[in-house]
Symmetry: C2
């Protein structure tokens, strides 16, 4: 075999480019209104009947019924989910980037010498256009300053406190409420059928682990994400700690997703859900296994209830969660299922006041 | 907090130094004799009554009984086990090192230009004393040649075929039969009490994953080990593969064990089992959590039924599985439990013909 190797594409550009969208933070504030309607009975109640819902139902039946030619033994039932844009809202900015920017004042308070040093000075100014223009190496300094240099326990406490108080600018709700109700139901439906559900995210593994169990029912050991090294040491009291180091171990995006899956899970998934070009290799890797495989991509085509971006199918271009026409074409050619948020989902969030039929 | 940082100690010396023991391969061959006796009734039947067995029983009761002040919720019940010397025999050489040496002829058959190149030439010569004298950088070339440069699926097939045919020189049995029966019972007993059992090994993660599910009931996603990077690519047929790269991501030994636990599990374990100085930090990290914690070290003090080495408690020094007197003293000082193979284990292997009382 004379294979061609695709570079793992180590760049954090995708994560950081979302900063260019900072002015969008001034989007209109829509208050939550009436209480949520009772979901329809049956499985996947927030999904409209249609090809996407049917694909999930057919896949589960084909892999769990003992008589099926595509039966999958329970221990091989692995379902992987991208997070940003697949399980929760990723616009106008990846939540973790918001976190890093909003942590800057606390970092400067501890190290006042940074106050007049770039890029901290610009971030503190609150000038969003200037922040959006910061070059990539400067932005990386912000990630390093806010995600490393503390113990794993300190980081957990900082992230937890922020998640409790931060609000999304459009819905004025905690980010952890901006999860897609249909996807929560898909997670639960798969787990009810002995699937082990994993998050496989380009976001920070330590960050997502802070809330994944509570929000998605996914325990820390089933969160695979971009991961840095830690360093074992001892405090003055002799107690050991793990210090978060500015050393990238796994860039869990694009080709890094199947690589991360191999590192952390060691099995090829049977089902994979994504929403962008960052998920392409994960779906290819999942689809290349034998038997029935579920490969799904969420298309953000609902600017009324959420956002519309692509640029697949003529949707507006986006640097956060790019879904190119080429990916759309590969999906069609390989038989992957594209989920239309507009048509396939009755409701987007648990707090949505009304459900909509397809 | 002004902490001292301990270097993660990245060296593969421990793995490789076992080569120095190569002449021991000519140890006497003891045939398997009578069939195994039926185990005693009750839990942990291959453990003699005594402090080690009692410590396990007390710990489980303290953490699973709802009324206990040290009750641990099921999702936090994480038990980690070193492998070499803790779950199976590590003398006279780590099994994976035997694998790497025995793979050399196959590697040379595929690349005949290596035949007269060191260190392959020496390994092919079969001259054990010369092999034992190979310097570390030369030995690393053997690890790289036999553990990387193939796809993850090719590696799995190669390792599986070897494990099926290779025999331990002393017992003339497959390595996978040389697992400690009392530890299999401890694994099962913990799982019966909703503990999730993990292997945390200095050995290669991909290697151990090949057999861990069958041998220990531990699935691939619960094997944490020394891990290298992979690279995603496409074959001529367009099918994706993961190529094993000579790039170290995690050196899962000593301080690398808590670091690996954080990376791969993301929770502090409640129970930890080891047998050597390579497990010290893992036991410290486990023990530093609140509530009841199980910290156990297997002491190889039974040269009749297995091996005796230490050098704790005056046992012969060993480069494979070093258990220093300093570690023994730390164990006593911190209340860790030292398991005496000689006194605490009724039988060592499932195939042992007779059980022995303590």
């Amino acid at each position: 075999m004379k294979p061609t190797i695709r570079s793992p594409g180590i760049d954090r550009r995708a994560l950081l480019s979302s900063l260019a969208l900072l002015p969008a933070l001034s989007a209109p504030f829509l208050p939550a209104s009436a209480p949520a309607q009772t979901p329809a009975p049956g499985v996947l109640p927030s999904w409209n009947d249609g090809p996407a819902k049917q694909t999930i139902l057919d896949f589960v039946r084909a892999t769990v019924e003992r008589s099926s030619p595509n039966y999958v033994v329970p221990e091989e039932r692995i379902a992987v989910f991208d997070q940003d844009g697949t399980l929760w809202v990723e616009h106008p900015m990846y939540t973790q980037v918001v976190y890093c920017l909003e942590r800057v004042p606390a970092v400067v308070a501890k190290k006042p010498e940074l106050k007049n040093v770039e890029p901290f000075k610009t971030v503190l100014s609150g000038n969003r256009e200037a922040i959006a223009r910061l070059p990539l190496p400067e932005l990386e300094k912000i990630l390093v300053a806010t995600l490393t240099g503390m113990t794993t326990e300190e980081f957990r406490a900082e992230a937890r406190a922020w998640l409790d108080s931060a609000r999304h600018p459009r819905w004025n709700r905690p980010y952890t409420e901006l999860v897609y109700q249909p996807m929560l139901e898909a997670l639960q439906y798969l787990r009810d059928n002995t699937y082990k559900t994993y998050i496989v995210t380009g976001g920070g593994q330590d960050f997502v682990r802070v809330y994944a169990e509570k929000v998605y029912g996914i325990p820390p050991e089933q969160v695979v994400g971009t991961a840095g090294g830690t360093k074992y040491g001892y405090g003055k009291d002799g107690k050991p700690f793990l210090m978060k180091e500015p050393k990238l171990l796994l860039n869990d995006d694009k080709a890094g997703k199947p690589e991360g899956i191999h590192l952390m899970i060691g099995r090829r998934p049977t089902a994979a859900f994504g929403n962008s070009n960052g998920d392409r290799e994960m779906l290819e890797w999942t689809g290349a296994g034998a038997g029935a495989r579920l490969k799904m991509l969420v298309l953000h085509d609902d600017d009324k209830r959420e956002y519309a971006y692509g640029p697949a199918q003529g949707l507006p271009d986006s640097k956060v969660g790019t879904f190119t026409q080429a990916l759309y074409d590969e999906a069609k050619q390989k038989g992957w299922t594209v989920i239309s948020m507009k048509n396939d989902w009755k409701r987007i969030f648990a707090f949505d006041s009304e459900a909509r039929s397809g």
